[in-house]
Amino acid sequence: MSSSLSSTEPRGSRPKRFLSPTSIMIYSALLVAAIYYLIPLYVMVMTSLKGMPEIRLGNIFSPPVEVTFQPWATAWNSACTGLYCEGIKVGFFNSMKILVPSVIFSIIIASVNGYALSNWRFKGSELFFTALIFGAFIPYQVMLYPLVIITRQLGIFGTLTGVIVIHTIFGMPILTLLFRNYFVSLPPELFKAARVDGAGFWRIFLQIMLPMSLPIFVVAVILQVTGIWNDFLFGVIFAGTKNFPMTVQLNNIVNSTQGVKEYNVNMAATILTGAVPLLVYFFSGKYFVRGIAAGAVKG
């Protein structure tokens, strides 16, 4: 009798119920949310794999009876964007040409900014920083026209350089904030020790700070790649017709009004355009989270 009693008495680790009411609630809520966000993607992929006759039947949720990759090829190679019919690949390469220099320049400048603002405080540096952050809250529309005039005066309006400069400038507030906060979180004594060792501004930055800041650089790259790739406004205004990025080209394909609307081509073009940020999130997920938590990294 005593042994049967003791077996029901609490002992050791508390038993875990496999499906407690709480976890059922959580998982069902997550499932609903996931389905909600995945349905559009599902419809897009399915539609892009169908031929036009099948699409006209109207069953947007049904999988394709005859799988065809022709819409993808058309979207990439020969879809019409206004006057030209060279597909969205032109936009893809334009976007790359805008993206790579913009990301590199903005991150280099912002990291030096953040380092200077956190470690080399000068008179008025806090004011400077506040002004920079304040810039992030001014609506773009206010600045567009002045920027058009400035870039025109500089002779870079409607060029690749122009749009790269604009992206670099508009990346400054958020990136500087990101880097400054990261560098502030590094132990200040490291900086002091390096100064006693005789290292100057650049040497401390390059040899002490940079090797410790990989996570925040990854976060910055992710932010900038997705932000610049998804940009439409600056591309359409500052890049010039020849350099329209992928987003603008996509809009032109989808909104072109001649003839029949080729839904399958439009869907394929849209997925192609969204693929880059999607892949970035997909492959950097772990780093992204690590970067967000980077404030806790210790030396």
Partner: protein, 362 residues
């Protein structure tokens, strides 16, 4: 020649005055400890000496050279930080050599200095490791090594042992003292730990509120604190204080508080003991004798035991005297029971009297 001398140094952050007109002369090869509670400005002063903080007024001389406007690297100092501040991505060897490589020293010279430092600090086997692979004590040794290889005149320590556990702390404390004997460099050492200060220092500067309260050798600081703050800050267990006044008994000065009366005939500064003066009587727990019989007349009183705290080597007995709780350090051989009646004998020659108004020593 003075190794470090600080003249009229002031530091303000905006309208807040952090250091107020400090003057310190540190002799060649001296071990000076800056001691005080947190926020007293001791670390700030060290950073000023190192050149890591811009001072508002005054001058700093190191080895007779005015370094007030010099960069930290040109001041001839090496610094050791509380958090070690080792460069995490470099090996121990690279950590040690970083400053030398910056200065552009030839590789052979760098090798020689690292070997020398590694031998002194016994970190030879660790040279190829990264800081993350070292224990706290090893890290701090490397941090000391980084100051050592710079071959400087003055070592600055900013609470170097505060991150270590008690056992390591006492071990490294001895090592730092040994290192000082071996190198005979000037060392300025910031700590809030009075044991470190008392054991290491040639002289201690007790600081509070950006001012130096007392700058003296450890024994003077301990036995003749200049004011009530120094007296209460130094010593563990802390000094006992009883408020009262000076009276005269048979032409001799006595301290009087309620029913407590202690003759001050043996107190050093006889001329300052004016009758009727309101004072604070301070005495250390080890300067009272406890016994079952009444001691010499005029220096003894009766007290009731409140409780006792055995601490191994000795015990601390808490008693009530003149309505105040006081502690007495006794041999741990005997336990005292609460409520027990005992007699205390004071030693006025070792006591301290403070003016109740100014809190300065009489």
């Amino acid at each position: 020649m003075h190794s470090v001398s600080i003249k009229d140094l002031s530091l303000n952050f905006g309208s807040i005055s952090v250091l107020k007109n400090l003057n310190i002369e540190v002799a060649d090869g001296e071990f000076l400890v800056l001691l005080g509670p947190s926020g007293c400005g001791k670390s700030t002063l060290l950073n000023c000496i190192a050149g890591l903080l811009e001072i508002s007024d005054g001058q700093i001389f190191i080895k007779g050279k005015n370094v007030t406007w010099e960069e930290p690297k040109d001041r001839g100092i090496g610094m050791v930080f509380q958090s070690y501040a080792l460069y995490p991505q470099m090996t121990v060897e690279k950590n040690l050599s970083f400053g030398l490589r910056v200065a552009g020293l030839p590789a052979a010279e760098i090798q020689k200095r690292i070997a020398h430092a590694a031998e002194i600090l016994q970190i030879g086997p660790l040279l190829q490791r990264k800081p993350a692979e070292l224990s706290g004590g090893q890290r701090q040794r490397v941090a000391i090594g980084r100051a050592l290889v710079r071959d400087v005149d003055v070592f600055l320590f900013d609470e170097p042992l505060s991150n270590l556990d008690a056992k390591l702390r006492s071990e490294l404390r001895v090592e730092i003292k040994r290192l000082h004997h071996k190198l005979a460099n000037t060392m300025i050492y910031v700590t809030h730990d009075q044991i470190e200060a008392l054991t290491l220092a040639d002289r201690i500067a007790v600081m509070k509120g950006g001012l130096i309260q007392q700058l003296d050798d450890p024994l003077t600081i301990y036995n003749k604190p200049r004011n009530l703050f120094v007296a209460s800050f130094i010593g563990s267990p802390a000094m006992n204080f009883v408020k009262g006044e000076i009276a005269t008994d048979n032409g001799k000065p006595v301290f009087k508080a309620a029913d407590l009366k202690v003759s001050l005939a043996d107190y050093a500064a006889q001329d300052k003991l004016a009758s009727g003066h309101s004072v604070i009587f301070g005495f250390r727990p080890e300067h009272i004798a406890i016994s079952d019989q009444s001691g010499p007349a005029g220096r003894s009183c009766e007290a009731v035991v409140d409780l006792d705290e055995p601490m191994g080597a000795d015990s601390l007995v808490w008693l009530k005297v003149a309505g105040k709780a006081i502690s007495v350090r006794v041999d741990s051989g005997r336990r005292y029971q609460p409520g027990e009646k005992v007699f205390l004998t004071f030693n006025p020659a070792m006591a301290s009297l403070f003016d109740a108004g100014t809190e300065n020593r009489l």
